[in-house]
């Protein structure tokens, strides 16, 4: 019973991270039809922004030393600026480009960011213990829950509720949803395309920033490729959930979290290292079984 609950919490907290990543990717896909392979690198930048830029082996906190109330907005701001710059410099000139070009462009952005980080911070991983207080446990009777996991789950819930309220209750949110469904029609009704896309990049950046802090608190290690696996799993989640549906992205994220946790817990030991391979194979299976994912978005037009 205890181990079951623990597994459940594991699944929920891992799923939370994936859901946040998937939302960031899904939001841009919904509006731009862009599969942003650079989303993971937004996350990485959020983590590196905590320390003093230098190629020294030992990380020195910069923003990372701020009080959390200042730290969070600062990191979010940096990642948002990066995301907006990416849009302005790369994706805006490609508005009319075909989908493969967009995907390749995001691959290029990813490559540039990763190597930019190597250039500034060096290629070696660095230890960084952000918020040691979060590594403790909360005891609930016999049940001992890692604080960090609870924080992760709660943060994700708060962010998702915030995002849902924004999308549902504000005029910009409604415009974003309209643009995600039918970008051209939205523009015919006066919705400013670049503004909506900018907002999507900005929100995606905020989500990435939060993920970077949560993830870094878990691993305690900075590495220029740290966001890549997260982005891959996020993409998996988006595909499984249904491309173009934000609810789908969240569902997909939690599902992937659950699958990975289950595989980790119940695969025979000698198979455990193939966990990721199973997860990716599952993507192919889902694509074959339900090409539009579990939650079907309005059939998206390939021509647009």
């Amino acid at each position: 019973m205890i181990s079951l609950i623990q597994n459940l919490i594991d699944a929920l907290s891992l799923g939370s991270l994936y859901a946040l990543v998937a939302l960031g990717i899904g939001l841009l896909f919904g509006i731009l039809r862009l599969i942003n392979l650079a989303h993971g690198d937004f996350i990485t930048v959020g983590a590196y922004a905590l320390i003093v830029p230098s190629t020294e082996a030992v990380a020195q906190l910069a923003i990372g030393g701020f009080h959390p109330i200042l730290l969070l907005p600062s990191i979010a701001l940096i990642v948002v600026i990066l995301a907006l710059l990416t849009d302005a410099l790369v994706f805006r000139p490609l508005r009319r480009a075909a989908q493969p070009s967009l995907m390749i462009a995001s691959f290029a952005v990813s490559y540039i960011i990763q190597n930019g980080l190597i250039l500034i911070y060096g290629a070696r991983p660095k230890n960084l213990n952000l918020w040691p207080a979060l590594t403790g446990q909360i005891a609930l009777g016999e049940l001992r829950l890692p604080t960090l996991q609870i924080v992760t789950i709660v943060t994700t819930l708060v962010l998702m509720i915030g995002l849902a309220l924004f999308l549902k209750r504000t005029s910009y949110g409604v415009q974003m949803r309209a643009a995600a469904e039918d970008f051209r029609m939205a523009r015919y009704l006066g919705v400013r395309g670049n503004l909506v896309i900018g907002m999507a990049f900005a929100i995606s950046g905020v989500l990435a920033a939060v993920v970077s802090l949560l993830f870094l608190s878990q691993t305690g290690s900075l590495e220029t490729g740290l966001g890549v696996p997260l982005a891959l799993f996020g993409l998996v989640a988006v595909v499984i959930g249904g491309m173009g549906s934000l609810v789908g992205a969240v569902v997909g994220g939690f599902l992937v979290g659950a699958i990975v946790t289950l595989l980790q817990a119940y695969l025979p030991v000698e198979m455990r290292s193939f966990r990721d391979a199973f997860a990716f194979a599952f993507v192919i299976v889902i694509l074959l079984w339900r090409p539009s994912g579990l939650i079907r978005a309005k059939a998206f037009d390939q021509r647009v």
Binding site: V174, R177, E181, R184, R187, Y188, L189, G193, K298
Partner: protein, 237 residues
């Protein structure tokens, strides 16, 4: 005074040429119709006017300003509203949210409630996702949405497509109402009968060019339209 003029318009998609050398105009307060068979380039023409497609050549002037190749959202904000072919409702948004999207470009409070009074069926379903409305209701919704954008010129692409005659009548009642309020309309249709009744002037398009242009009164019997439409007997006239 022409509200809208299109001069010598050419549109192509990759290798396919859709419009070649088309010119037309719409005067203030006028209802103008474009007729033509499938693939004549009607929708492409509207798309260029509304800024959804960039033309290869030609000029679009609206209220004295050159808007050729302008951005769709800016053109919409300057007072042109397009109701594209095929009822582009935002399917997962509610009816009311769909209507709201039409109003955001105006800073002041928009009159969604007032418009809903005109469309009782939409009013009943205001919290429904628009994707679950019937075809006729969706057509009403897109027109209502365009109305809320308060355009001076509304471009309507095949409003009667796939609708029952009774519903088509209702759609046209609304369009004529708009005209009475001083709006100019450019309506694309494939069927002639209603257009002959309601339009002031008619252009017949085929192969991306204007084949015939005249007042509805002069074309009343429909014969000339038929000839231009199907391309029979061109020299005989």
């Amino acid at each position: 005074m022409a509200l809208l003029t299109v001069e010598n318009l050419h549109v192509s998609y990759g290798g396919v040429t859709a419009v070649r050398g088309l010119s037309l105009s719409v005067n203030e307060g006028e209802v103008v119709s474009i007729l033509g068979p499938n693939g004549a380039g009607k929708s492409s023409t509207l798309a260029v006017i509304a800024g959804g497609v960039a033309p290869r050549a030609g000029r679009v002037t609206y209220a004295g300003q050159d808007i050729t190749g302008g951005r769709a959202e800016e053109i919409a904000r300057s007072g042109i509203s397009l109701v594209p072919e095929g009822r582009h409702v935002f399917a997962t948004l509610t009816v009311e949210e769909n209507l709201a999207v039409g109003t955001y470009m105006h800073k002041g409070k928009a009159d969604i409630a007032g418009v809903l009074e005109r469309f009782p069926r939409l009013k009943e379903r205001r919290d429904f996702p628009a994707g679950r409305l019937s075809g006729g209701e969706q057509q009403m919704l897109v027109i209502a949405r365009a109305m809320l954008a308060k355009p001076k010129l509304m471009l309507v692409d095949e409003p009667s497509l796939g609708l029952a005659p009774l519903i088509i009548d209702q759609v046209y009642d609304i369009l004529l109402d708009l005209r009475r309020q001083g709006m100019s309309l450019l309506i694309v249709e494939q069927s002639t009968s209603r257009i002959l009744k309601h339009a002031d002037r008619i252009y017949v398009l085929r192969g991306g060019a204007v084949q015939l242009e005249d007042t509805a009164a002069n074309l009343r019997d429909g014969e000339a339209i038929k000839r231009a439409y199907f391309g029979f007997d061109e020299g005989a006239a």
